[in-house]
Amino acid sequence: MLHITTLHYLVLGAALFLLGVIGVLTRRNVVVVLMSIELILNAVNLNLVAFSRYWQGIHGATALHGQVFAIFVITDAAAEAAVGLGILIAFFRNKETVNVDEVNLLKW
């Protein structure tokens, strides 16, 4: 039977990361851009947890630093989503659009 190794997870993480990057760079809708950022963060999380498992194999079950980092990343994602969506609402209220390429003013 084929074994699933850390590398499998890393490749999956990389693919997810690239999807996120494409989304951020190409989409116009701010909400989708924010969601793509979530994809990127999740790819990072996947890598962190996979590394944590690898590290556990070497240093024993209590070497959970990767997972702790993943939790920090999730916290950060929550903060980012809250502020990002807050900005989005303020922006939508003033310009009535959710497209990134129409955000071309520093103030209004």
Partner: protein
């Protein structure tokens, strides 16, 4: 933030912005809305959930009762008035009969007067019970509805035994009563009073000190006594705002001056006070019934009225205290068998005008509570 009261009421242009910064949103409530007690349509102007103003659109139940009166004899029109406020048909009949009696210059004999008072007060209790059940249901308490309908049933049974009808009773005739009371009427009424007294405590137990009920009704739909008078609001709504005005005391009709009862008044004029006032009116009505049933005199039940009624040329305005407020009849006679004009002053119609004042600055959910607390019957509003 501008005071919503300063905004023009009829300014109802729909802003077609639906985004977050929309200044106001116009929504339509009814006529097919479960909480508008029939076919009332309310156009609400909202800022978020806050009511900036509202307009009532009525007339969905208009049947032209006043116009019908012009083509019927005085006697023939009598059953029609039952169909206005169909939950308080007896009161409507009382007001009409007394108005015509005044026009004719006759007076119902004392025995008829007593029986009229008993039936009218029973009807007031029935009307208030229906109000309580539906009002509580609007606020989300489902159980009081079943309790009140259970007890209202006993009143309707008495009506049915007396005149054969339960809802649109046509109980009174011009000049007195058509039917003598049935055997055991006094006992039935006494039994009912004894039966319903603990039940009213039961309603109060469910609601009066219920925390959620207090939160939903206290400070909701406040109207001052001054505003009430300015708008012509009468009945329990006026009394809950602290104005001690009850036509049974102020301009005694029938023989209310023979009975000893209090006029319950409120202080704050909010929905809770209106609830309290009506709950107290239950008890006062029971007091009146107790006194009346003890003192029914013997004698005839019908005054001497001509077979063909031709009241002298003239006009009359007579009003009574219906369960919902001042119910007035303005009748113009041209000396023929048919009235020249009948104009009804329905309490629900006038009280409904206060809805806007009471709802401004409140939340949408409160509009439903306020419509409930006004105790309107659309049959009476539209006539």
């Amino acid at each position: 933030m501008t005071d919503p009261r300063t905004l023009s009421l009829l300014d109802l242009e729909t802003p077609d912005k639906t985004h977050l910064d929309a200044n106001e949103l116009v929504i339509n409530m009814g006529p097919q809305h479960p909480a508008t007690h029939g076919v009332l349509r309310v156009i609400l102007r909202l800022d978020g959930e806050k009511v900036m103003g509202l307009e009532c659109v009525i007339g969905y139940l208009h049947r032209g009762v006043e116009k019908i009166a012009e083509n019927r004899t005085y006697t023939m029109f009598n059953p029609y008035v039952d169909r206005m406020d169909y939950v308080a048909a007896v009161s409507n009949g009382l007001g009409y009969c007394e108005a015509v009696e005044k026009l004719l210059g006759v007076e119902a004999p004392p025995r008829a007067q007593y029986i009229r008072v008993i039936l009218t007060e029973l009807n007031r209790i029935a009307s208030h019970q229906l109000w309580l059940g539906t009002h509580a249901l609007d606020i989300g308490a489902i159980t009081p509805l079943f309790y009140t309908f259970r007890d209202r049933e006993e009143i309707l049974k008495i009506f049915e035994k007396y005149c054969g009808a339960r809802l649109t009773t046509h109980a009174f005739r011009i000049g007195g009563l058509q039917y003598e009371v049935y055997d055991g009427f006094e006992k039935d009424v006494k039994d009912f009073v004894a039966f319903v007294k603990p039940k009213i405590d039961e309603y109060e137990e469910l609601l009066t000190t219920n925390r959620i009920w207090l939160e939903r009704t206290k400070g909701v739909g406040v109207i001052s006594g001054k505003d009430c008078i300015a708008l012509g609001v009468t009945g329990p709504v006026l009394r809950a705002s602290g104005v001690k005005w009850d036509l049974r005391k102020a301009q005694p009709y029938a023989n209310y001056k023979n009975f000893d009862f209090d006029i319950p008044v409120g202080v704050n004029g909010d929905t809770y006070d209106r609830y309290i006032v009506r709950m107290a009116e239950f008890r006062q009505s029971l007091r009146i019934i107790e006194q009346a049933v003890e003192g029914i005199p013997e004698g005839p039940i019908m005054a001497k009225v001509p077979k063909v009624m031709k009241p002298p040329v003239g006009e009359i305005y007579h009003s009574i205290e219906a369960p919902k407020g001042e119910l007035g009849y303005f009748i113009v006679s041209d000396g023929s068998t048919q009235p020249y004009r009948v104009r009804v002053r329905p309490p629900s119609f006038v009280n409904l005008q206060a809805l806007d004042v009471m709802c401004r600055g409140q939340l949408v959910a409160d509009v439903i509570a306020v419509i409930g607390t006004l105790d309107i019957v659309l049959g009476e509003v539209d006539r």
